[in-house]
């Protein structure tokens, strides 16, 4: 049996290699495309000063070896320069502002959806064929296939426009006393609520189905019969024995979904004008703010990889069979 330490090191090395491959990959994507397209889309709208900046910072436009080395070094050292749109602001500052908001939103959404999925899925699987089970299935199937942006708009229409319970957008209210951390927190939560509902509903569908299926698998096991025969109450059997064993795939899925916290809410953030990472990405592409776009692509990728590493380590910790 391999040790945990060796496993971690192994995975970390893989992460680094993967990251390097991603850097090369994005570079090729940008560099190998026909220049008239690149010229057409992004670079024809730029001022000469901006083009020069891109050359210096990312090596765009220079001959291959020069270009790639500048690019490679800067990417690896996180030297992303300053934004075009917010002139003078270092890109890393912008990302630093946006990232916690996204983490707040998606972190809460993921945790909430898996928690709800656990609870509802347990009951749905236990009382298989019942009302809860059937409605849970219909719900899951439907919400699994809803476009996130459409759900967001419809909820906006109903809950923020027709019956204005929630705010229409933004990540914080403008009339908040910034020095009071409690009211700041409250306002942040208030604005994150509706996007969180959207995200939760969508991932709940997947989590619910998974938990339910897993419960069905577990129900056939013998120790469930033993527990019932022992005279334990239904609730005890359900939660103390059945679901505890059924939860493993759910935990796997939860861990696997963590990496997507970072880039997963692009659309939702766009609709709600929630200034997180996804919103920054979309608006930067629209504004042709290339330094931010390049930087975000890598930051998001590396965060995804880091979360992957974290997920793998956690999983390796939980399930020793995985370590090689």
């Amino acid at each position: 049996m391999a040790s945990l330490g060796r496993y971690i090191v192994g995975r970390a090395v893989q992460i680094v290699i993967t990251y390097i491959i991603i850097v090369i990959f994005v570079y090729l994507m940008v560099a190998l495309l026909p220049t008239n397209y690149v010229g057409l889309l992004a670079f024809s709208h730029m001022t000469p000063a901006q083009k020069l900046y891109l050359e210096k910072q990312f090596g765009i436009g220079l001959p291959f070896w020069q270009s790639f080395s500048i690019y490679f070094v800067h990417m690896l050292t996180f030297n992303f320069g300053t934004s075009f749109y917010y002139t003078g602001t270092p890109v890393l500052t912008l990302i630093g502002q946006a990232l916690p908001r996204t983490l707040l939103l998606l972190g809460e959404a993921t945790i909430l959806s898996y928690l709800l999925g656990y609870i509802i899925g347990t009951y749905a699987g236990w009382k298989r064929g019942g009302v809860l089970d059937n409605s849970a299935i219909y719900f899951s199937f439907t919400f699994y296939n809803i476009p996130t942006f459409w759900l967001g708009i419809v909820l906006l229409y109903i809950l923020a426009y027709k019956y204005p319970i929630f705010p229409l957008g933004g990540y914080i209210s403008s009339n908040i006393n910034m020095s009071n951390p409690f009211s700041v927190f409250l306002s942040l939560q208030y604005h994150a609520l509706l996007p969180m509902i959207v995200l939760t509903l969508i991932s709940l569908a997947g989590a619910l189905l998974l938990m339910r299926t897993s419960m069905l698998d577990v129900q056939g096991e013998e120790y469930i019969n033993l527990a019932t025969a022992k005279g334990l109450s239904e609730r005890e059997v359900l939660f103390r024995h059945a679901s505890r064993n059924a939860i493993l795939p759910l935990i796997t899925s939860f861990i696997l979904s963590l990496p997507f916290i970072v880039g997963g809410a692009v659309v939702t953030e766009d609709i709600f004008s929630y200034q997180g990472i996804g919103y920054l990405y979309i608006s930067s592409i629209d504004r042709l703010d290339m330094p931010v776009v390049y930087a975000l692509t890598f930051i998001i990728s590396i965060l995804v990889l880091l979360f992957n590493l974290f997920a793998d380590v956690l999983y390796g910790f939980l399930d020793p069979r995985v370590r090689y």
């Binding site: 893989q14 290699i17 993967t18 491959i21 991603i22 990959f25 994005v26 994507m29 940008v30 495309l33 397209y37 690149v38 057409l40 889309l41 992004a42 199937f141 439907t142 699994y144 296939n145 809803i146 476009p147 996130t148 942006f149 459409w150 708009i153 419809v154 906006l156 229409y157 426009y161 299926t213 069905l216 056939g220 990496p259 997507f260 970072v262 880039g263 997963g264 692009v266 659309v267 766009d270 990405y281 979309i282 592409i285 629209d286 776009v293 975000l296 692509t297 998001i300 990728s301 995804v304 990889l305 992957n308």
Partner: protein
């Protein structure tokens, strides 16, 4: 070597297909999904039958635009005389008290309806606030208003049979002139902006029999008193023969004033003498400058059309070269002649031809519009009139393919609507707007390329003098019977239209929009039905491509193992760890907005998932004994992969193919919505994006809901079908 014949393979395939179908039929969700998919396929194929409109067709403007309109009953002392109409534009200095609609009859009654114009830009509203009755001289048949009268003593000119009245703003008579001839023609008020010293400020002429009466007022700025003093003059011109249509006035600063009178013997040009005196400029009738016979160069005579002669440009601005140096004369033989105003010589003669051998029926004074002189010209043939524009600078129709068709004959003259770049024309029943420019084709009603939008007028019967008043450049008023109809020229757009049936008030045709329209007037139902084509196409192509690529790579990697396997798995890991949407957006924004680039981008970032699963399956299959057996029999690697591994892998991938379609549809819609889609593609995502960019997201639920529901249904059905199929083929999920 045991060889399985193709016949056997096909038979066994048919058998398994039958069992699979039998099991599938028993799955309610699977059948539901399949039915929905078939419904969409039918929708896509029979789209032209299901929707009478294509996604590109828009509702006509008369439905999309609404204007402010109203109807007031005019009851003037119970007198059953036809009521007439006068214009009153904006008043002096725009003050509200002098803005109103004047209604009068020839038994001495006038009424002014006070107007308030509220709102702005695209939503002007006319409010009739009040009315006042006035007494006017009896027998007035026509009334015209002055625009730029600096005093209140001259607001209207009223014409009775033999008398000219100058009326104040309260309709009291300030001047009157008795004439020896019946008034037949009126020249239209020449109304130039005041404060131009030593020049006529305004004037008009009336003609009848062989006499023409001219009234001119001029303003004289006195430095002494630092004010303008106004003087009025009258003079009469007697011609040898009868006047046959309205005279033209040339009263400009740059040269001597003239009046041009068309008579039976010819077109005559008289000068107006300006004699300076101590205190002001004296005006009196001058002598005949030139006269030009109504004859073609070959000597044959011609008749002028009843619409009369005209300057190319009617506005007070263009004095000479472009607008006033030429006199345009239309003849009953469909010729348009150009005479020089300066010496009366015939400058050119052009035959005005039109389609269907229509004859020239009128030439109307024009306007200088964006670099061109535009004169409305009408042709008549077979019960229809055709209105288009003549450019006197090139002596040709401005455009040979652009014209409006008006049923019947044109009544009155064609008026220019200031600020709207349109002319207005009426027949017995309707008034029409004719925009000056257009895109293509022969249409009766045209949208103007502007935001506020215009649409054809429909205000009831138009009588007596053709189209009515234009008020403040924005409203049209006509009178019929006892009714005063008013309607705004500037309409506002009421699209997107909620679901329902809409009747075009102008043509009477009913347009049916079961799901309503979007902002441009496209039928939402048409978009749903035609959009199904592209959705199904790209969904299926993208999903199948990505799965096939994944299968190919997965089998290769799993079967051969070793270094290639390690490398490929590394690549798969890279692709799997890339955040999907981020990179698809990046790739699409780099490639360009084309629907197939979207498909390519989605496929590039989707194959990795299938590859990993297929590799795992291949690994386990590889160890099965029958693989060894085939290898022992000498089967090549390729053969083993295609005949043994592939058939066992494929059924497991059907799930991914089917659910993949739903994923592609949703991803494409998301890309469209974010702005990275193909704007020319007819997909449901583009419809939603259009909803968002026009800002009607929260305002048009009939536009918001159907595309979303369509996406959900189609994606859900593919998911259910895939899931049902998977339950059959994959032993994991069966009900226990």
């Amino acid at each position: 070597m045991a060889n399985v014949s193709y016949l056997e393979t096909i038979r066994s395939l048919r058998r398994s297909a039958k069992t699979i179908w039998g099991a599938f039929r028993r799955s309610p969700s699977g059948m539901f999904g399949l039915i929905i998919i078939l419904a969409f396929v039918i929708m896509a194929i029979f789209a032209p039958v299901l929707s009478p409109y294509t996604p590109q067709q828009t509702a006509p403007d008369s439905i999309q635009f609404m204007s402010d309109s109203g109807h007031v009953i005019v009851n003037m002392n119970n007198i059953n005389e036809p009521t007439y109409l006068v214009t009153q534009i904006g008043g002096r200095g725009g003050s509200e008290s002098t803005t109103g609609i004047v209604v009068y009859n020839n038994t001495g009654h006038a009424r002014v309806y006070d107007l308030g114009v509220t709102g702005n830009g695209s939503k002007l509203q006319l409010k009739i606030k009040d009315y006042h009755n006035y007494t006017i001289p009896q027998g007035i048949n026509q009334m015209y208003s002055f625009i730029y009268d600096p005093t209140t003593s001259m607001s209207y000119v009223g014409l009775a049979n033999h008398t000219v009245y100058i009326l104040s703003s309260s309709f009291s008579v300030t001047k009157s002139y008795n004439l020896t001839f019946p008034i037949r023609y009126f020249s239209g008020i020449f109304d130039k902006y005041p404060f131009s010293s030593y020049s006529p400020t305004m004037g008009f002429a009336v003609s009848g029999m062989n006499h023409t009466f001219l009234f001119i007022e001029e303003g004289n700025f006195s430095a002494l008193t630092n004010s303008v003093k106004y003087y009025s003059f009258t003079m009469q011109f007697n011609t040898a023969s009868n006047v046959i249509s309205s005279p033209l006035l040339y009263l400009y600063l740059s040269s001597n004033p003239e009046i041009i009178i068309p008579t039976q013997d010819g077109i005559m040009d008289f000068s107006i003498l300006e004699t300076p005196s101590i205190f002001n400029l004296q005006l009196s009738a001058g002598s005949l400058q030139w006269s030009s016979k109504l004859e073609y160069p070959n000597g044959s005579s011609y008749s002028i059309l009843p619409t009369g002669i005209a300057f190319p440009d009617n506005s007070p601005s263009l004095e000479s070269n472009l607008g006033k140096n030429i006199i345009m004369v239309p003849t009953k033989d469909s010729y348009i002649l150009e005479y020089s105003r300066i010496n009366g010589s015939l400058m050119s003669m052009t035959k005005a031809t039109f389609v269907n051998n229509a004859v020239l029926s009128g030439l109307y004074s024009g306007q200088y519009i964006t670099g061109n002189i535009t004169m409305p010209v009408s042709f008549y043939s077979n019960g229809k009139s055709y209105v288009t524009f003549w450019n006197p600078l090139i002596n040709k129709l401005s455009s040979s393919s652009y014209y409006a068709t008006i049923p019947g004959e044109i009544i009155g003259s064609i008026q220019y609507i200031n600020g709207a770049n349109e002319f207005m024309v009426a027949n017995q029943n309707l008034a029409y707007y004719i925009p000056v420019t257009k895109s293509s084709g022969n249409v009766t009603y045209l949208p103007m390329p502007s935001k506020s939008g215009f649409y054809p007028l429909y205000i009831g019967n138009v009588i007596q003098g053709g189209v009515g008043a234009v008020i403040a450049g924005n409203y049209v008023v006509t009178v019929s019977g006892n009714g005063l109809f008013y309607e705004s020229v500037v309409g506002y757009k009421i699209s997107p239209l909620p679901p329902g049936n809409y009747k075009d008030p102008a043509t009477g045709q009913v347009y049916n929009y079961p799901l309503g329209t979007d902002y441009e007037g496209h039928s939402i139902w048409a978009w749903i039905v035609y959009g199904a084509r592209l959705e199904l196409t790209i969904g299926i192509i993208a999903a199948i491509s990505s799965v096939l690529i994944g299968v190919f790579i997965g089998i290769l990697s799993g079967y051969f193992g070793g270094v290639m396997d390690a490398l490929i798995m590394r690549l798969v890991d890279v692709f799997l760890s890339l955040p999907f949407l981020i990179f698809v957006i990046l790739l699409v924004s780099l490639l360009g907005p084309n629907i197939w680039y979207v498909v390519v981008a989605i496929v590039i970032f989707s194959w990795a998932g299938t590859a990993r699963v297929v590799r795992a399956v291949t690994l386990s299959l590889k160890e099965r004994p029958y693989i060894d057996a085939s290898r022992a029999q000498g089967a090549s690697n390729g053969r083993i992969m295609t005949t043994h591994i592939l058939p066992n892998v494929l059924p497991l991938t059907f799930f991914y193919m089917s659910t993949g379609v739903g994923g592609v549809i949703i991803t494409e819609a998301t890309l469209d919505f974010l702005g990275f889609g193909d704007p020319t593609s007819v997909t449901w995502g583009m419809l939603l994006q259009f909803l968002q960019t026009t800002g009607y997201t929260l305002l048009a639920p009939w536009w918001l809901v159907p595309p979303g529901v369509a996406i959900i249904l189609l994606s859900l059905s593919f998911y259910l079908v895939g899931r049902a199929f998977d339950e059959i083929v994959n032993p994991r999920l069966r009900r226990r």
